[in-house]
Symmetry: D2
Subunit: 362 residues, 4 copies
């Protein structure tokens, strides 16, 4: 990963700011001959789209994606795909105060520190709007994976909001699409709804934990030592706005296990493939996939743009207070779900192509 590009053979470069005319993703290295159209990408973008329920920003963006290149007669040609999303609802007047003050917990100050100037309109490049481009790119990755690895499935969902955790005993994957939190635990979703209503009313926000699972992933993907599947996934997830932690399988909790507890015992499975007694590894050993589900979680911090006043300084260094008005998600974790899925799809496809390139074993 480097600057605004990630991936090795399947490379995604995103561009664009929150309040510029457009943003998008340039997708390079896409395999040729894959059936694709804008509707396939729009499907995923619509899941991330703002304003879908009262828990996400009321900014009205259709987030309509156009494919400007890399296609011919409904198939990818192997040349770069340009996926462009025009910004239509750019209420810049909302952001006057932000131009002069730094929001605590936000990238406002660091862009200023790094570049000596910044585009303050809606957070500019640091806005979570950039993730729309990733979701579009992830849609391409999913379409390619559907061809190359039939049966692969990538699913994200929320497992924790604030201190409130979902209960795995209640998990029903069919519930994910039926509540605004992408929760497989319908009861948790109801509790979170109430909690978030309160927070929103009090001008506050809250963090969350998202889990993303990929099933049907072939064994052998991942490029040790420094392109390990888990290393690449960690970088990908940590690059999402507001993410502060990433864990694979047993994750941070692996520290609490003993060797006998942690070892996923191996048995002879179907078709000559190994079968494992458990999945503390989260589907990855030594940076290479085992064929088990890849399981990762990432933590999203609470939105920094809140109505509660916080102490800060101005761009000229004077101490002051800031209250962020405007249309901000009280829990950015919600919309991080499709983004995490998209990043997972891109990383897996990239590693698949790398593996096919080096070993020819697919």
């Amino acid at each position: 990963m480097s600057l605004n590009t990630f991936g090795h053979l399947f490379r995604v470069t995103t561009w664009g700011e929150s309040h510029g005319p457009a943003l998008g993703a340039t997708v390079d290295g896409c395999p040729p001959g894959v059936a694709l159209d804008e509707a396939k990408l729009q499907h995923w973008l619509d899941r991330r789209k703002p304003g879908q329920n009262k828990y996400t920003t009321q900014r009205q963006e259709p987030d309509a994606v156009r494919i400007l290149s890399g296609m011919y007669e409904g198939r990818t040609t192997g040349t770069p795909l340009q996926l462009m999303i025009e910004n239509t609802d750019q209420r810049s007047k909302d952001y006057g105060d932000i131009a002069q003050k730094f929001r605590p917990g936000h990238a406002d100050i660091t862009y200023w520190q790094k570049y000596g100037l910044r585009d303050p309109r809606g957070g500019g490049r640091s806005s979570a709007r950039e993730t729309a481009a990733r979701v579009a790119a992830g849609g391409v990755a999913r379409a390619v994976l559907a061809d190359l690895v039939p049966g692969i499935a990538i699913t994200g969902y929320m497992v924790q909001m604030g201190r409130l955790r979902a209960d795995r005993d209640r998990f029903d994957m069919a519930e994910i699409g039926r509540n605004p939190f992408w929760s497989p635990d319908a009861a948790a979703a109801a509790i979170w709804a109430e909690h978030l209503d309160e927070l929103r009313k009090s001008g506050n926000s809250v963090g969350a934990v998202i889990e993303v699972v990929a099933s049907g992933v072939p064994a052998g993907l991942g490029a040790p030592i420094y392109g390990k599947m888990d290393s690449e996934l960690a970088a990908a997830m940590m690059s999402i706005n507001a993410v502060k932690g990433v864990e694979i399988g047993a994750g941070m909790g692996a520290a609490e296990l003993t060797g006998t507890e942690n070892a996923d015992e191996i048995f002879a499975g179907e078709g000559g493939r190994p079968r494992f007694s458990s999945n503390h590894a989260g589907g990855i050993l030594g940076g290479i996939t085992t064929g088990q589900d890849i399981v990762l979680r990432f933590a999203v911090k609470p939105t920094s743009s809140i109505l509660s006043p916080r102490r800060t300084i101005t761009v000229t260094g004077e101490e002051t207070e800031i209250v962020t008005k405007g249309r901000h998600d009280p829990c950015v974790g919600i919309r991080a779900v499709p983004v995490g899925e998209a990043m997972m799809a891109c990383v897996i496809l990239d590693q698949f192509l790398m593996h096919r390139g080096q070993t020819g074993r697919v």
Copy 2:
């Protein structure tokens, strides 16, 4: 990060297996004119060296590093440094069983799945011996940083072993070098010693959490969006053997915070620099350093090579049982401390050079 190389301008490529004649790191892009010698690197290698206390493998390796290139009259020339460590204690007979069976929780099976063959001697490339090369490279990074960013300090220590956590109220950084666990909490170290003795006797192992802190880091380092400082650090730490989770600042716990709790309020500090009321951000906002301490933690799973028998399969797919003899650390987290520091040093230097390249602002 890609295959066996990490970094953009300061690039480290490691090579070598546990039981081959040697292993090492090729360090490219090193700034010229930096005073360096083998003793400076050996200092860091000695901290990671096996056999220093009863809690690490009794394999006797001097881990003596030689600098084969990139130096002239005691200074770096700007051309690649080759850092080579010869393997002297390669008791291959220890590993006979491993050649035919896969250790549960180990990369044995995935290297086999990926490449169709593997070097089973001591785990081959997947052995933690590879991390010696990183520590050598990290020594180079530290020497350069000492020139470019006087006052920078990078310190790692253990904060948790199994379920036993160190107590931050007892932290005394001077203690770190005085116990075998790099613990700033002397009391915790004593408890861990006892715990580990028991585990070792019972043929078991345990996980740990390591914290690494970099202080004195300039603001403005990190290359958004996909070369964010936290993204690069997450990839770097996740690439270390046995690491299953990485978190920055408040980390996974950020999910539990509200926006008002999480926001590190900003005040006018000394020399025109901002001062923050807290450091939930772990020194990084929007992927760019704030000038506060970078604080990260990573979780290391328990060693997979244990004396307790586990169910597994052979390379030909038959179910069997495995007991791993040999000289294995009961808690690999201990020796992960200097490795985490080394990775942090390399990433910070790389980002420093990238930032100087793009912006000239240093």
Copy 3:
């Protein structure tokens, strides 16, 4: 260089086809704070624009560039610039025959061999229209270089058309803009005009040699061994459509020289800088700039799309004949001049940033 991206710190990714809705360049790693606007880029695009004289295609394209991102209040922000050029004159009916047959000497057949399908409209991605995006990116590079290296100048011109060579004794750089061939030799330009008229009438085309010179380049740029300035320039020029040879300084002719002839003797120059007796090196020794002018030449083959019938096969493998109608330049070398300049500008800037990053010596 890799797929559709070139550059290390200043990275340009181009996208788009001849007859798609748009094409463009994503420019990443641009230094912040540089004054820029669309007019500055349009200046360079207008030099490459088709239909400016009877020697270039009569396709009417305004080639109007829009900057969609990476700017705020007239300055670059350090985030990616998206430079988009809409295709307005896409007369696809011209290209019917090409869809079924491969033009000899053209990429038609190899895209088919590589990808199994291709976009035949106007050559799709292999069309020279792609070079418009490079010229736009080169305009960004020039704007940055004007800030970082005042006094740098990059100038391209034609030195040979077919067997007709310009005469260096008649060179007057002021003439370059006054004739359709970017020729510093006005007499040669007149002869070429006549020659090209004849070729065009006979349904034929011709090759050319372009020279590009960069003066005012600082010494020390270039990243040995595999990122040498001449290596990067060679790759950059060879990536331009129809280029079959690249040479630096004495170039292919260096083979004919003896050591005494070739050595550019060194004397003490002004300001402590070396002065050289000659410039057979073309400003580059060991892959690093000397401070002399960088001098390179590249050869462009004749246009493959010609009215004279040629033997070929169809996409289904039957032998046939092809006559390429449509609006093609009889000498693509003419429009390659601003493209060569643009590539030179991008490579020099990238190497400048790399050098500043690694050494801090600028």
Copy 4:
């Protein structure tokens, strides 16, 4: 290509100086399971080895390569190969004068300008000894290609020394190994021998042109737009010491052709493959291989280290004269032949892997 690494999936990083303890190549991304041993690599190194005839330096170096990693039981494991060559004949006393003065036409001065210091012993990193590492890496590439693309052959030979050109009508490929110049024209070799004797006696040197041909290359290799096969080859050849020009197929001479002359007409060939009437394209169209022979040539300038006195300056800027004693090749083009072959092998393999990765079509 970047700093000291080239390649995308098959990546070669070279390290080491002329007079350090050793030099070598780290080869990453090598496909697993390929039979390899040191003898296979030594075969190619012996062709480049100095002191084999009176036309190459009399430095006595066995150039014995050791494979330190990446192998198990005679096969590559897919992990990095470290290929090390120890320097045994380091007569540093020869180089005293060079430490204080810059050889005209040599990288002495630019390394100084770039890095502010340099290793003057034998030219340090800029010495042609670095090419031994490439030849070793090329040996690995050849072994892999032999597995993946049976029938591929890569052959280099000299076609011009000074103004004396070989005559293609006399070409007999069997002659290449029978004369010190790798010439397929035995008569030319005899003339060159005489010419070089004279030059050597007069303390002078001379340039040369090398041609490298790859036959049996599959169609479809090459990654447009910026990873074109010709672009990658141009970069690879230009990175070889003393190379000043690179051309593919008709090369610089393509400028002299008309469209009708240049077009390689296409016919239906055997096995459904196209057959071409000629090969002006040098086997590459649009940056992608056609299946015809890849044909390239590169020009090597005369050795800068000559006995004839030349004007220069000292490191402190005073004007002086230099005579380079020591053991230098009067025509470095001779030993560039195996180096050019090696680079060709590495680039083709890398592109093969990239193509397999992206398209799966092999």
